[in-house]
Symmetry: C2
Subunit: 520 residues, 2 copies
């Protein structure tokens, strides 16, 4: 990164635009790099032209073309979505696959965290009773019972951190045999296996739903809890329509009794020292601005590389924010097969969007644009930096579980909550979330660390943001320094030594399933 002076940032020597750093933006007539004078006021985070451009010229940021000018633009002028045309997306049929030479990196040794090791070998960062639901019909009942469990049972199980109802809007009233139904079904099945739930599976079902609990337990025995028999300590399914429950009161008592058995086992979990290679970190961004790609996301990318060097697992996601940078990613695939898998995920999503008469230009929000991001190309180039510099060792589809250590592309929509839900299903035990505009995002299942891309937000949302990467823009910290801070913070939070801001405040968002199939 070439920091030209304290007022603007140019990321790459070939860039013909720079980003305004100064809080409050630049006034008309301000002199910046190379004696260029601004011809108009330009807000913070927005782009200023460093050269005179004719109509049709390429606008270059991150050393990549982010569009062509729709009109002539004077040096020192504001460059934004009104005068830059979105280029076509990179064609998917001629991309270089696995062409980048894989250079040996020094392993990072000696870093550990205190985690909960599970029977299946995975490691949790929290000790949570996750109550899976097979259908939306039971959500109101589960919400009611979770409150009762928290007040009546949880105080007796001091090693258990929380009880979470895994409610969702799937399970019935859906085309369960449509081809795309595989996505929500495997998502629910795999979320139940998230390492923070300690391999305890407890499902509340209705009875008549399309998504039968046996589907969610396809590789485990289904053991039904019935009210009339002595409670089976291994019971993993309770159906509200079971004949043995006479009314709501008995259902609730049944769920409480079943929860107690699971809490007893979870309470025996103890944190133990685990190598950093047991980290499974999901990287995400939401409410991005033009700083995201020069501060927070590069710092996250640096931390990604540290985790990979330590032998851990990192996912990056968000297909529509990767699509326009795909030509930078396919060369980083570890082999051609992984490269083709990347392309397949892009092609699936192109098709999905076009079926709904939408395309990738639907991605950026008004806030992204206010934050200086002119289009999805600029957003994508800034977004993929979260993936650092490591080779991409695997690609998984939405709702699938992670298969390999190292850096995986976990294909998900960019919607924060859907991406979070799918990364939970993939098995993350911690999430890092960067934001420029600010979102009070949180998940009850795993800690979420929020990193601000600019210090204006970092200071204003002092109690919501966990780490301020805006210090990189002001020159108060380097990308490497913030990357290391994040890595160490991840280890602290994964160990329970420190709480994520969202957990401290108690702000948690619900799961949102990705269901590309119709509802009925």
């Amino acid at each position: 990164m070439t920091q030209t002076n304290s007022r603007v940032i140019r990321v790459h020597p070939n860039d013909n635009v720079a980003i305004v750093v100064e809080q409050g933006g630049l006034a008309e007539g301000t002199i910046i790099e190379g004696g260029i004078t601004t011809t108009m006021a330009i807000p913070q985070g927005h782009k200023v032209a460093l050269v005179k451009m004719a109509e049709g010229d390429q606008v270059v940021r991150y050393g990549e073309v982010i569009g062509t000018t729709l009109v002539a633009i004077a040096s020192g002028s504001h460059v934004n979505e009104t005068n830059v045309q979105l280029p076509t997306a990179p064609a998917l049929d001629e991309l270089p696959l696995a062409t980048r030479e894989i250079t040996a990196v020094e392993p990072l040794e000696g870093y550990t965290f205190e985690g909960f090791r599970n029977p299946d070998g995975s490691v949790g960062t929290k000790n949570v009773l996750g109550i899976t639901t097979s259908v939306q019909c039971v959500a109101g009942t589960v919400d009611y019972v979770v409150q009762r469990i928290k007040h009546e049972l949880l105080p007796r199980f001091s090693n258990v951190d929380d009880v979470v109802g895994l409610n969702h809007s799937y399970g019935c009233g859906v085309a369960i045999n449509a081809p795309a139904a595989i996505v929500p079904i495997r998502t629910l099945k795999n979320i139940a296996l998230n390492p923070n739930f300690g391999n305890e599976i407890m499902i509340i079902a209705l009875g008549c739903e399309k998504l039968q609990p046996s589907t969610l337990l396809s590789d485990r025995p289904v053991r039904i809890y019935e009210n009339t028999q002595a409670a089976d300590p291994e019971a993993n399914v309770l159906s509200l329509q079971d004949d043995s429950f006479q009314g709501f009161g008995e259902m609730v008592e049944g769920i409480l009794a079943m929860a107690e058995r699971h809490l007893e086992r979870l309470n025996r979990r103890q944190r133990e020292t685990c190598p950093a290679s047991e980290l499974v970190v999901g990287m995400q961004c939401g409410g991005s601005d033009a700083f995201s790609g020069v501060t927070a996301n590069p710092a996250v990318g640096f931390a990604t590389d540290l985790i990979v060097r330590a032998g851990g697992s990192v996912m990056f996601s968000e297909v529509t924010e990767v699509r326009d940078a795909i030509h930078l990613l396919t060369p980083r695939a570890i082999d051609e097969q992984v490269g083709r898998a990347l392309i397949e995920q892009m092609a699936w999503y192109d098709d999905y969007l076009s079926q709904g008469q939408a395309d990738r230009s639907a991605n950026p929000s008004p806030g992204n644009k206010k934050g200086g991001l002119s289009n999805v190309v600029e957003k994508a180039l800034g977004s993929v930096i979260k993936s650092g510099n490591s080779p991409i060792v695997d690609v998984i589809g939405p709702g699938e579980r992670l298969r390999r250590k190292g850096l995986t592309f976990a294909a998900t929509p960019a919607s924060d909550f859907i991406c979070g839900t799918l990364q939970l299903a993939a098995g993350m035990n911690l999430q890092v979330f960067t934001t420029g505009r600010g979102t009070p995002y949180g998940l009850a299942m795993v800690p979420v660390l929020k990193v601000s891309s600019n210090s204006t937000l970092g200071k204003r949302w002092h109690d919501i943001i966990d780490l301020d990467a805006g210090r990189i823009a002001t020159g108060d910290a380097s990308i490497e320094e913030v990357g290391w801070e994040l890595f160490l913070l991840i280890l602290d939070v994964a160990s329970g030594r420190q709480q994520a801001a969202a957990d401290r405040l108690g702000i948690h968002n619900d799961l949102v399933l990705f269901n590309p199939a119709p509802v009925t």
Copy 2:
């Protein structure tokens, strides 16, 4: 209805199958109507053949063909989805439109309830502060604040029944310019206008989202509440990203202050005597069985006609459970235009399902089949009976508001929660929900009355079911008697004299939006 004896029910004289009434079903060798002997055990709610049928014969129930036999079936045998073939759906291009003569019905006068009359003329059945959210990002914060409002503010406003956060999974990360995006957007806009919220509109926004609050308030002045200004009593939008909020604590204080102003106004609402013509009742069924079409739904249909005779409004919905009975509905349209509107909604859904490689056969659940419903035709014939015998005066699309009194077809998916959400948007002030298998459904926004189709469920779920229509099958009550009971119960619950079971127990389901457009 021809009740042949206490063991089976035949609905229509032309039917060649009857439904087993007896709890526990019929054993092999049981003698029923006309000296027919069962050739095998047949479960309760399932169909028994009343005649010998050859392969390819028509199976008739409700006087309508529900399928053709796949094999020869002996008289006294079990008829179900394994030996009946689904017929093709009625073609949409040759349906009779508005052909049924409209007979004058005697107006029903003198029935009233105690409701909350609103400035816009609508009448509420509860007094609720509904907090609209423009985007899912604020849901965790709204959940947190709603708890604070309930504990800190609500006790001071004794006329206000509840505070509800209208959370959902829309607003950003979605293709907001896709043609189908109109559905979720108008749904959110119209839910805020539900009569139970007393025309008070309070929106919690983030700031950078695609669904801007101004869209939700397009016909009202948008007044942004800022923390630094004196609280505007008319303020109706608070954005968490507003510069004036220094951190989470100040956002929460801002929301509490805004809620207080709205609670002050809501607290001045008083119940007053209103004619039954102000009822706006949504009819729905979920977890249906073979009794639904002979007990609960006919009783609901009778109550529908009573409400219409009293000048009130009734909606029925659930396109996939109407599609196969559409030929019975288009003649009941009040004019050809309404008839064509019915057909348009069917055609839209046929297309929507086929885009997802699904069709109407995706509707029935395993529980429906266990309950004796062989296919979607039989389910639909039993479902549309909820609409009674009144003319259909209007058709609205998903998320639209009701325009006319009388009986309207409000097109929605059959998914219970999506249908409920869309009927809320249409403006219902009470919902009736029939069930045979049993679902503990509830909405916090309006009372939901649950009617059981069989007494086995009605007795077992004694505290969840509001009214047992199973007494119709056992001969202990007539359709007319249960219909009148339901009508009078609606008036009691709408008046706050009696609580719906779900409200008494505190079981409430979340909103689920219908979003046929892609996520990004």
